[in-house]
């Protein structure tokens, strides 16, 4: 489950799930929704790896890795499978080449900021928050 929240200059992402990888997957869906709400076929898969010193930085590195893959591969992603072990993230992300007619992309995420960044667990529910610079 994810939602966008307001930030005066940019766009905030909030995602909630029963597990940390699940919250990371939903945050990635929220990132894609900043660009387009149109359907993206999961026809091509890309492997993403990253690691960090804590969960907050791992979230930033994960979403930055997707921004990077979108930029250099000219792709949009819609399906995410994340595994996290000891602050090491390994993921498969599926998507397709960007099609201007079909996807009508609204805006290009530049980078993840550290603004309002948090990763929290309460009673088995994981909530992540961050702000994207667009």
């Amino acid at each position: 489950m994810w939602e966008h929240f307001s930030h005066q200059a940019d766009i905030g992402i909030k995602a909630e799930a029963d597990s940390l990888p699940g919250a990371f997957e939903d945050a990635a869906s929220a990132l894609t929704a900043i660009i387009t709400e149109k359907e993206i076929e999961p026809t091509e898969v890309v492997q993403v790896e990253c690691s960090a010193e804590n969960n907050e930085i791992l979230l930033i590195d994960w979403l930055n890795a997707i921004i990077y893959e979108m930029a250099v591969r000219k792709m949009l992603f819609s399906k995410f499978e994340v595994e996290i072990n000891s602050l090491k993230l390994s993921a498969k992300i599926w998507g397709e080449k960007i099609d201007y007619e079909k996807h009508a992309p609204a805006v290009e995420p530049k980078a993840m900021t550290y603004n309002q960044l948090s990763v929290k667990e309460e009673n088995g529910k994981w909530t992540v928050r961050c702000v994207v610079d667009v």
């Binding site: 940019d10 609204a106 530049k110 667009v134």
Partner: protein, 475 residues
């Protein structure tokens, strides 16, 4: 009014240092604009005031709004000899995003006669929007040459003329760029993005000079009422974004080892005179050169479009300003000249008359300060003043500044409706995304005229001309 803010003159508000603040916070705004500057923005101004080596004050321009780390519209100078810091967050992810204005020497009537054809050709030939790529592909060696040479490199490659370079800050090339300090990932993101506008608030506009406020300066700037200009607003594209990402992480991790207590992680800073500080300077200057080369290539692409449709058009440079930078500049502190690293995050340099760094043509007038509006509203051309040096290290506002979030804007407006409204006002909008248009709705921004008035009344710049959009190609 926010707590702790004290009005010290009509357009200046101050926050006396408290807590960890080393210097006061100073916000330039009139009695109405100050209400748009929320508590979060004010606390960001205060956080910047707590960074080591800050000189005089932490400033916010009249278009200030909440950023991350620094406020957008924030200006702060740091003394390298007093432990002063360099902050990746104080430059932001769109390094040297800026505005370039070109004369067309064509009247509004001449543009109107070919408006649709011109709009169509600009839209077709100027790569814009998400993931836009250009016809130029640079290999690693060429990329490094571009990062070292900036607009000068672009001119050597046939994009524009040597004369163009005189009218760009730092003559079109930021010295001290070290391409080796830019990651392979950043270079890969840029390989096919040269000569592209990007998305978001970036644009290329054909604008009519609607009003002249200062005839003498306007004459020196070559501005005539009723003539048209082209303005290009864009930055360093994927390369700049990736440099920001790479260094923010390293700076945030290293700050504490230099005893820097970050009130906000996004303020990520290290001493200017530290290995990481020098590396970032080398990378960030490469980012500035990338933005300058990008605007230079876009200039040539624009000239080609005009020459096909109106062969007599002559698109000379008016000026090129960058508004997300950290630059070593000489400023007077307590009457003494000093080299300071001035961060401008969403703020424009506004050197007044007599500065050595200005082209001969503008030595007596001060530099042109190009203020971009939001689509459908006015843009302005201001000139730097001598007082601006005393007020805020020669800085002025950079645009309207958002007043509403993108999420709120899309709930309120639809792209098609905005396009229609603007068409009713004879403004042609070209965009690949209707939702992008809604996010950039003119009313999602502060009133640019009010921002300009407050800037002028605070003596940060003087008003020269007002421009109205005729054609807008949205990024």
């Amino acid at each position: 009014m926010r707590p702790g803010l004290k009005q010290t003159s009509e357009n200046v508000w101050a926050i006396e240092p408290f807590g960890k603040m080393k210097v006061p916070g100073v916000i330039f705004a009139d009695n109405i604009l100050i209400n748009d500057i929320d508590e979060k923005t004010v606390s960001q101004v205060c956080n910047v005031a707590a960074l080591p080596g800050i000189v005089k004050a932490s400033f916010a321009m009249p278009d200030a709004h909440m950023g991350y780390g620094f406020p957008i519209g924030g200006v702060a100078a740091f003394d390298p000899d007093a432990g002063g810091v360099i902050s990746g967050g104080g430059v932001g992810f769109d390094i040297a995003c800026g505005v370039r204005a070109l004369h067309t020497h064509l009247s509004f009537e001449e543009i109107i006669a070919v408006k649709d054809k011109l709009a169509e050709s600009l839209f077709r030939d100027i790569p814009a929007g998400v993931g836009s790529t250009g016809d130029i592909f640079l290999n690693t060696k060429e990329l490094d040459e571009m990062l070292t040479g900036g607009a000068k490199w672009a001119v050597e490659k046939g994009f524009g003329t040597k004369e163009d370079l005189d009218f760009i800050e730092e003559a079109g090339c930021s010295s001290g760029a070290i391409p080796a300090k830019v990651s392979g990932q950043a270079k890969k993101r840029q390989a096919d993005q040269m000569g592209t506008l990007g998305s978001g608030n970036h644009y290329l506009e054909v604008q009519k000079i609607a009003d002249i406020f200062d005839e003498t300066t306007a004459q020196v700037f070559g501005l005539k009422k009723g003539d048209c200009l082209v303005s290009i607003h864009c930055g360093s594209r994927g390369l700049g974004h990736q440099i920001g990402t790479d260094y923010l992480k390293q700076m945030a991790a290293q700050a504490s080892s230099y005893g820097i207590d970050l009130p906000d992680r996004e303020l990520a800073s290290v001493p200017i005179n530290s290995p990481l500080g020098s590396d970032y300077l080398g990378a960030m200057r490469s980012g500035i050169n990338c933005a300058l080369a990008n605007r230079q290539i876009l200039t040539e692409l624009t000239r080609r479009v005009f020459s096909k449709i109106i062969p007599k058009a002559r698109l000379d440079m008016l000026y090129d300003v960058s508004h997300n930078t950290a630059k070593l500049e000489e400023h007077k502190v307590n009457g003494k000249a000093k080299q300071l690293l001035v961060h401008r995050k969403g703020a424009t340099r506004s050197f007044g008359p007599g500065r050595d760094d200005l082209p001969a043509k503008y030595k007596d007038t001060g530099q042109p300060v190009l203020i971009g509006g939001s689509m459908g509203t006015s843009s302005y051309i201001l000139a730097g003043t001598s007082q601006s040096e005393e007020m805020a290290f020669s800085s002025a506002c950079h645009g309207a500044g958002r007043s509403m979030s993108r999420t709120a804007a899309t709930k309120r407006w639809q792209g098609g409706q905005i396009m229609k409204e603007l068409a009713g006002r004879k403004i042609t909008i070209k965009s690949r995304s209707m939702r992008g248009l809604a996010e950039e709705a003119p009313d999602a921004y502060k009133n640019v005229s009010a921002v300009v008035e407050a800037t002028v009344n605070a003596s940060l710049a003087k008003k020269v001309a007002k421009l109205l959009p005729v054609i807008c190609v949205k990024g």
